[in-house]
């Protein structure tokens, strides 16, 4: 009883937070639409890309990487045991990309022309390639998610069609993801005069790809942990344990490459320079290094809380990397200072919260998790309190 009371109080808090964020986001959106980008953001001619590009777009896409890493693992490498987390992974990916597209539409100066790249081509532009890959991959994600919807609605015929095309669709999706996850790094190859040398390297596309794969696994672990909590299901620990070891290897590979690259370019000495960039670089690396070291221990991998903390650190490390490359690493050379306005924060937070609400909604009403049949009592109590506890998961999913 005591516990129930505490829980109720907590739910109200998360609910309140959710509505507060959403209201703030709407207010920010109003300012953006009516008064323009200058009023809604702190972006300037000297600093044309802000939080909405750095976080909503760059980190958003990387957080959606779970979709292709697990699709490849399960369908192409045929590792059957990962199947239980495949659909949650695809759902996180779909929401990540959806939210990214909403964020981008808000960020660009002419949202009504967002369809232009379909007809107006410039194959020399990295953004053009990214744009097409993302459009196509979103279609792939819808096709990968469709079976869950069809199962729910009992559409047998559609299911059969989806099953026949599933292998080429997955293959196509993995290729598309490889291309655009890395190309997001290629975007910054064009700013050698702006990006601080701790980050500017010809290997940016490779680093973006590998770190996206890392955070893809981390997001799936994170989401599994949270949904187990929210829906009172048992955590698939053996599976997460195995993902943890894969993640440890991936992270080690990634970090080794980062330092090898610094060494090759003769930039290691920059780590001794006392500048903001150095500390931000160390923060970003630390957030990847700590889970890499921890996850090599079986004891850590078998501890749900430790696994959760590790996956959160990897996600934050990836986000820190994207923000460093797109914002903080560029600031000094732009001879300006940028800190996001309240409206920039609010839009970003609402996108995160919105993604969480949608994840919860989908997880509840679609066959996403293998034994997702929640005891009916739990459904009742929870659905009567709208999108509450997912706000707690909230900051994982999209950010």
């Amino acid at each position: 009883m005591n516990l129930a009371a505490t829980l109720r109080r907590q739910l109200t808090f998360w609910k309140a937070l959710f509505y507060f964020i959403m209201a703030g986001g709407l207010a920010a959106l109003y300012v953006r639409v009516v008064y323009g980008l200058g009023a809604a953001t702190n972006q300037t001619d000297a600093f044309p890309w802000g939080l909405w590009k750095g976080f909503n777009v760059l980190a958003g896409i990387a957080l959606g990487a779970g979709g292709f890493t697990l699709a490849a693992t399960v369908h192409i490498f045929n590792v059957e045991k990962y199947k239980p987390v495949l659909r949650p992974a695809i759902l996180t990916a779909f929401l990540g990309y959806l939210v990214m597209i909403i964020g981008l539409t808000i960020d660009i100066g002419q949202p009504l022309r967002i369809w232009h790249p379909i007809f107006m081509w410039n194959p020399h532009s990295v953004l053009f390639e990214v744009c097409w890959c993302v459009m196509l991959y979103l279609t792939v994600l819808m096709l990968e998610l469709a079976p869950a919807v069809c199962e729910r609605l009992g559409w047998r015929a559609s299911l059969r069609v989806l099953r026949t095309i599933s292998v080429p669709v997955v293959l196509f999706g993995v290729v598309l993801s490889t291309l655009h996850q890395s190309s997001l790094g290629t975007i910054f190859l064009i700013v050698p005069y702006k990006l601080y040398p701790l980050w500017y390297t010809p290997l940016l596309p490779v680093f973006f790809f590998v770190s996206a794969a890392c955070s893809g696994f981390a997001v799936v672990m994170f989401a599994s942990w949270h949904s187990a909590k929210a829906f009172h299901r048992q955590l698939p620990l053996p599976l997460l344990e195995s993902m943890g070891s894969v993640l440890a290897v991936l992270l080690t590979f990634y970090l080794a490459m980062r330092f090898w690259d610094l060494h090759q370019r003769g930039m290691l000495h920059l780590l001794l320079v006392n500048r903001t960039e150095t500390w931000l670089f160390l923060l970003e690396i630390g957030l990847m290094l700590a889970p890499a070291a921890l996850l090599f221990h079986r004891r850590v991998r078998n501890n749900p809380t430790a696994l959760y903390v590790c996956s959160a650190m990897v996600i934050l490390g990836m986000v820190a990397n994207r923000l460093n490359v797109s914002l903080t690493g560029i600031e000094a050379a732009s001879s300006t200072h940028y800190f996001p306005k309240w409206s920039e924060w609010m839009v970003t937070f609402s996108l995160i919260a919105g993604a969480f609400a949608l994840f919860r909604l989908a997880a509840k009403h679609l066959p996403i998790f293998p034994e997702a049949q929640v005891p009916s009592s739990a459904i009742l109590t929870e659905s009567s309190l709208p999108p509450a506890p997912q706000a707690e998961l909230a900051f994982s999913r999209r950010a």
Binding site: V33, V34, Y35, G36, L37, G38, A39, Q43, T44, D45, A46, P48, W49, A72, H75, I76, F77, N78, I108, G109, Q110, P111, L112, R113, I114, H116, P117, M120, W121, N122, P123, H124, S125, V126, L127, F128, E129, C131, V167, L171, F172, V174, V175, T178, L179, S183, T186, I187, L189, I190, V191, P192, Y193, K194, P205, I330, S334
Partner: protein, 254 residues
């Protein structure tokens, strides 16, 4: 024949008539307040920077291989054969990648507009196409800004430097920076004092991304083939296992 602008800072008296002519040509307001701003912006496409008794113009360099043309995903920028880098505002979606990528930090945005566009000097594309000179060159009373064939202007600049070597920095800015530009600058003090980068290489900036981008079709094809191969192997292995193991069941299609 490729055209260019040559600006010789040693002849400039800082009268800002080029700024005024530019504003008129682009139908932008111009008054004392705007004149006092040294930054390029959406309402000021060229500016005269003053450092003591030295002057220097800032304007779009109209690169031979422009970064903005290469990065724009909808192809809103075009390099004309005559030299101007022109912008089609009806294509622009407002992603601002051109602004991030430009090595000269030139493109400016209408931050206060509901449906903003990018603004930059386009070397008077329409006038040049009609065989006229740019508005700034026409307005310049001292001959600090002149307009002509790029090769001829480079020869002229060389001549000026060699005739009065003590009056000039021995460098024509824009002759070879980022692959050459259609705006050429001469100065008596280092260009970096006016915000021009001294670390620009002679390689066109777009090559940095193109070197990666040109491999995309190969990576896509190779990746597709490789992944199909992996898929075939892993599933074949499973089929074989199924066949060798419990073959009591009818052959099941996977």
């Amino acid at each position: 024949m490729s055209k260019a602008i040559l600006y010789d800072a040693t002849l400039c008296v800082g009268c800002r008539l080029c700024e005024k002519a530019c504003a008129e040509r682009n139908k932008l307001p111009y008054d004392d307040v705007i004149a006092s701003r040294e930054q390029l912006s959406a309402s000021k496409l060229t500016t005269v920077v003053t450092r003591g008794d030295k002057f220097m113009r800032r304007l779009c360099m109209n690169c031979a291989e422009p970064t903005c043309v290469s990065v724009c995903l909808v192809g809103a920028f075009k390099k004309n054969a005559a030299g101007p880098v022109v912008y089609d505002q009806t294509r622009c979606i407002g992603c601002r990648y051109c602004m991030l990528a430009c090595p000269f930090q030139v493109p400016a945005y209408q931050w206060d507009k509901q449906f903003p566009i990018v603004q930059k000097c386009d070397m008077c594309g329409d006038r040049v196409a009609a065989g006229r000179m740019t508005a700034c060159a026409e307005a310049c009373p001292t001959g600090a800004t002149i307009f002509g064939d790029r090769d001829a202007l480079i020869a002229e600049a060389r001549k000026r430097i060699s005739e009065k070597p003590d009056q000039y920095v021995n460098h024509i800015f824009g002759e070879s920076e980022v692959g050459g530009t259609s705006v050429l600058l001469l100065s008596s003090v280092p260009f970096s004092q006016f915000g021009y980068r001294s670390d620009l290489t002679n390689e066109p900036v777009p090559m940095l991304t193109w070197r990666v981008l040109e491999h995309v079709p190969d990576i896509a094809t190779m990746g597709g083939v490789l992944l199909s191969g992996v898929w075939w192997i892993t599933h074949r292995r499973q089929e074989v296992e199924a066949a060798e193991g419990g073959n009591g069941t009818k052959e099941t299609k996977s």
